[in-house]
């Protein structure tokens, strides 16, 4: 797999993870907490 393919699949998988998190309010909230805490 070349780098372009890898980048493409990365985006795809990231979208899949986003969908998994968004479908679960608790995971969404934990994700928000982690974003906030580690962005400080």
């Amino acid at each position: 797999m070349d780098k372009l393919d890898t980048a493409f699949f990365s985006e795809d998988y990231e979208l899949m993870l986003e969908q998994v998190i968004c479908n679960d309010p608790e995971l969404l909230y934990i994700d928000s907490l982690l974003c906030e805490i580690f962005a400080k």
Partner: protein, 194 residues
């Protein structure tokens, strides 16, 4: 056929086949829910409108570039993008020194930690920070590493995969398990998050 009753999947398909109006229909179909979600998060209608617009710009670009893989959960995907835009907004607010305390304070899902409007709220928010960081420390090494690289270092999953020497799929899987494990520990240890 009543266009309002077309499924998201069909509207996407029509759009990809050249029906430019289909994307407008799709956006209209979900606009109220997405806008309400953003407004609930930022508590400012003007800011919410900007984020709403940015959200759908990203949605359309992603679809146009062929990077959206439809699995029948279009709205969830859009809400997630909106959520990320909201987080970006708050991050930018925190980095802007001229922003007043009242406009930078916010409240996500009713949690006190994001409002920090009083000394007591600040103490609670600091406690939540400490609790979450302690739980992250308890994650298996490979999951903790992905969490820190993602949220602290801000790396993409492609970069995380390269840095840790695993596939992108594995890195994403570790992140998913990390979040699930954190939820499990929060419940087991009765950690109060609001």
């Amino acid at each position: 056929m009543n266009v309002q009753k077309l499924s998201d999947q069909m509207l996407l398909q029509n759009y990809l086949q050249g029906d430019r109006s289909a994307i407008s229909t799709l956006i209209d179909k979900h606009s109220r829910r997405v806008r309400d979600y953003i407004r609930m998060m930022v508590k400012d209608n003007d800011v919410a409108d900007d984020i709403f617009q940015d959200t759908f710009i990203k949605v359309v670009h992603t679809i146009d570039e062929g990077r959206y893989s439809d699995n029948g959960k279009f709205l969830s995907w859009v809400l997630r993008i909106a959520h990320n835009k909201v987080i970006d907004y708050f991050r930018a607010q925190k980095q802007a020194p001229s922003v007043s305390e009242s406009s930078s304070g916010y409240d996500i899902l009713g949690s006190l930690r994001f409002a920090e409007s009083t000394v007591e709220d600040k103490i609670i928010a600091d406690q939540i920070d400490a609790d979450i960081k302690a739980l992250v420390d308890l994650l298996p090494d490979e999951q903790r590493e992905v969490v820190l690289l993602r949220y602290f270092s801000g790396l993409s999953f492609k970069e995380i995969a390269e840095q840790t020497g695993v596939s992108i799929n594995t890195a994403l899987g570790r992140m998913r398990y990390a979040l699930i494990n954190l939820r499990k520990m929060i419940k087991e240890k009765d950690v109060v998050l609001c």
